[in-house]
């Protein structure tokens, strides 16, 4: 084909313009909004955010949740992915059921776990049947922060392990079977094979799963609201409240800017720490 050098630019132009207008521009606008004070540039919004009663709790809760949920998800997904590799018949069915939560909204996931954790819910019914409980007991309140935290973490793990699983299974499919077989021939145990062959070769997939999950974990919101309402403050939840109830976009934008900063730092750290040298690429 006689090359018309403008063709690819024409093809990407709509996407570029769109992302420019609705991704890059709002990114900048967030910063501008957060820095807008009464009379020009100021850190007033940040000061209000830092002085907010819920700020410290929200920051701590978000970090705690991320620190607990993401590693558990990676470990669980790794376990599931290696199990999938060993299932012969029924593999597709098991895999499909395991990835169902992928399709489920965080709000719906929160509601599903609400059915279990509410005071007359299934967890309490089981505890009651076991004689551990005298009657309906509320767990999702400020008086029971540990159970509330565990409940939210469980719901998040339940919902979002699927995406990690899919990324890892897709990554494992790229690893030639011969590597594992070669290791087996040279006498490696299953654990050694996993540790020395699968895991290192899976590093790029683990990296992208970590980035994706961590960024989304800092965004956690609907699961928390469905289960605990405002009993468990998180950063995005506070942004939502400042935007909606308090009608203060400036402080909401300050929260947003903080969340973006944290996400960017996390991505940067993952990219640095889990770097695969080019010459080791499979």
């Amino acid at each position: 084909m006689a090359p018309k050098p403008w063709v690819p630019y024409l093809l990407i132009a709509p996407a570029v313009l769109f992302l420019g207008a609705l991704f890059l521009l709002p990114l900048v606008q967030t910063l501008v909004l957060s820095l807008q004070g009464e009379g020009g540039l100021s850190f007033a919004n940040y000061a209000r955010m830092l002085g907010d009663l819920n700020f410290a709790d929200a920051l701590r809760n978000t970090f705690l949740l991320t620190l607990v949920v993401v590693p558990v998800q990676i470990a669980l997904a790794l376990l599931m992915a290696t199990m999938i590799a060993r299932i012969g018949a029924g593999r597709d069915l098991v895999l499909w059921v395991w990835v169902i939560p992928l399709a489920i909204s965080d709000l719906a996931a929160g509601l599903a776990w609400l059915a279990i954790l509410q005071s007359t819910g299934y967890l309490n019914s089981v505890l009651f049947a076991l004689g551990l409980l005298d009657g309906p007991t509320p767990w999702l309140t400020q008086e029971t922060p540990v159970v509330l935290f565990i409940g939210i973490a469980l719901a998040e793990i339940w919902r979002a392990t699927a995406i990690v699983l899919v990324i890892l299974v897709a990554g494992m499919q790229l690893i030639p079977k011969e590597f594992g077989e070669a290791a087996e021939v040279f006498g490696a145990s299953p654990w050694q094979r996993f540790r020395r062959v699968t895991l290192p070769l899976l590093k790029p997939s683990i990296q992208s799963a970590l980035i994706l999950r961590t960024v989304l974990a800092f965004e956690v919101f609907a699961v928390v609201y469905a289960l605990g309402g405002r009993n468990f403050p998180v950063l995005v939840g506070e942004a939502y409240v400042w935007q909606g109830e308090n009608q203060n976009t400036g402080v909401a934008a300050a929260y947003a800017a903080l969340i973006m900063l944290i996400s960017m730092l996390a991505t940067f750290v993952y990219l640095r720490v889990l770097r695969t040298p080019r010459e080791q690429m499979a």
């Binding site: 093809l11 990407i12 996407a15 992302l19 299932i87 399709a103 489920i104 819910g121 897709a170 609907a222």
Partner: protein, 272 residues
Amino acid sequence: MNPAMTPVRRLLFWTLVAVLLLWVLLPIWLVAMGAFGGRAAVFQWPKSLLPASLSFDHMAAFLAVEGVANAFLNSVIAAAVTVVLSVALGAPAGYALARYAFRGADAFKLLVLLTRAFPLAILALPLAVGFIRIGLYDSPFGVALMHTVLALPFAVLVTQSLFMGIPRELEEAAWVFGCSPVQAFFRVVMPLALPGLAATAIFAFVISWNEVFAASVLTVRERTLTAYLLAVLSESPLHTRFAGGLLLILPSVLFVFAVRKWLFTVWGISGR
């Protein structure tokens, strides 16, 4: 199945498989019971795993609640527009990345990947300000624009690999045998890419259907289903919440079931 596994280990293995299956399915089953059981089931104590009475009345009652039908409709509109926009904008870009080596391709790809490093839904905050100005605030179309930001990078990356999987020679053969580039695309590339494009579209639909935060920030009256549920969460009875939860879960699970064959192609790529 590893033939070297002993019976005991095999039993353990399959027990673990079963436990994990149950772990995934049980909450869905329980929210469905809550949705179909109505008020009585929610406050039944202690609970049984099987429904005492199963009826669609409670679900129907939920659908009749004021605002629910409209919210459902808004969700469908937002998701449909998201599908159209993300495929219409993403597929050409994916094609360009797959077929042309051009200056700026890397920069464009970086822009697309950059979206990964940010919690995108947060961008709804500044967008709300802009949307009010141009009249897109409180409309499923405004929500769809925001949701397209979420779905577009995904559509670009998936269609890129989709088009890379269609041998260039097929297109060249079409050119040699009388097609213009546009004809070749629609007669040869498009039919072959169609199943993958459909999968991409469905995932875009699910992304929009499930999104809560941006939809809540960008609407007040014309709520999507997620935004509506979130807004009424604190004042609605439990069985209503469960009915809403189930209504959210069902379409997306069915959709993803329909394209399960593509799950790994699609997510595997976007996870790389």
